[in-house]
Symmetry: C2
Subunit: 236 residues, 2 copies
């Protein structure tokens, strides 16, 4: 159905892909701010106006790149998780965290695109949500496995936060304790704080051995979500 509509449709997906490829190259080389539709068109041997047949605006091109970046990051994390499938939850947690960091260091501009300052006036369409959730779901899965296996330590929860914690748990993982889900959301944000600080230069002149530092911090995050010092989990 999607590939049957003749030469024209096939050419369209090819050109679309070529535009995204060239845009990604410019993004990696110069950053999102210097991504220019005209430059992309020039490099592809087309005139700039022709490009608008494929992406109605520069922001739409960026949106496409954002979704691809989320997916690329998600794939990296999932691959790392798969490679550590035989290890314990703590090792898999750390493997995923390190995959996120590794991908970010390898694709700094794409990371900045998805986790840095949002483009002004630009709000990510709902299309990006599933791709953006992949890493979170991966971490959630690790916690689920651990919860059903060895059990999870349950970080204490202040009374004021309990309603919100139960709401989040109902939304994200009804089979996990609210304490765990809340701790995961916090750890998730904190993970990106660590990666972002390293990537955006905030660790310059502060942290030198960043690899070791990050591995340790990832382990601390794991402890925060109850992955360390496991105890028998209470009945769900």
């Amino acid at each position: 159905m999607s590939t049957a509509h003749g030469a024209r449709a096939r050419a369209r997906v090819e050109v679309t892909a070529a535009i995204k490829d060239e845009a990604r190259r410019q993004l990696a080389a110069e950053g999102a701010a210097k991504l220019s539709l005209r430059a992309v068109a020039r490099e592809l041997g087309m005139v700039s106006s022709a490009l608008y047949r494929y992406f109605p605006s520069r922001d739409d091109l960026l949106t496409a790149l954002i979704i691809d970046a989320y997916d690329s990051l998600g794939e990296s994390a999932e691959a790392a998780h798969g490679a550590a499938a035989d290890s314990g939850p703590l090792q898999r947690w750390i493997a995923v965290c390190e995959a996120v960091r590794g991908w970010a260091l390898a694709h700094p501009h794409e990371y900045a695109l998805i986790y840095g300052s949002p483009v002004p006036g630009y709000t990510a369409p709902d299309t990006t949500v599933p791709a953006a959730a992949r890493v979170g779901n991966l971490l959630l899965g690790i916690l689920r496995d651990a919860y059903r296996g060895l059990g999870l330590a349950r970080p204490p929860l202040p009374a004021a936060l309990r309603p919100e914690a139960e709401r989040m748990a109902a939304d994200l993982a009804p089979d996990l304790p609210p304490e765990t889900v809340t701790a995961l959301v916090a750890a998730w944000a904190q993970l990106y704080g660590l990666v972002g600080f390293e990537l955006f230069g905030q660790f310059n002149r502060v942290v030198e051995d960043r690899e070791t530092f990050f591995r340790h911090a990832a382990g601390q995050l794991a402890q925060g979500v109850g992955l360390v010092y496991p105890q028998r989990g209470p009945a769900s």
Copy 2:
């Protein structure tokens, strides 16, 4: 000396301030990417080329705004810390964290400017370092007080990280244990992860009661640096 050089020098600082004020207004209104020298000049009733007598480039204007933003954030944090001066270290820690979050929510574009994706090709000059360090120094001071008073729990440190931890401690706070300094650096990055995720929309459809969530998370960070469950500190 600095104000004595006649009307021209006085006019210069006034015009410089006016430019920065107008630029800050546009920054708050539209974000850094849409900050235009021409628009600033237009609003000030001058021609765009005249503006280059005060800021040699758009990036230099941004640098000035960055330093101001760091200082504004630092002042907010210090004020909050001062207001909580009579409270215990944990309360002061949380007060500073909440001040950071509050400032970020009140000045989202300025926060994005200093803690979001760096401007492409732009590397912050060393001028920004002291201003950028103010919040960190504040948190460090809280830990120092606690360490000298009730004492701090000392988070465990893996052997692989010990050399780096000792180096960081020697650089940042030779009077504090390496475990504490390492934990602080991590908590510092994680704090900005939490703030950034909320600010940049990553918590949309995930966290609703963000105030309560953040307060809890800040308390968890405090625990991570040893501020909770204080025990008699060992000899320094």
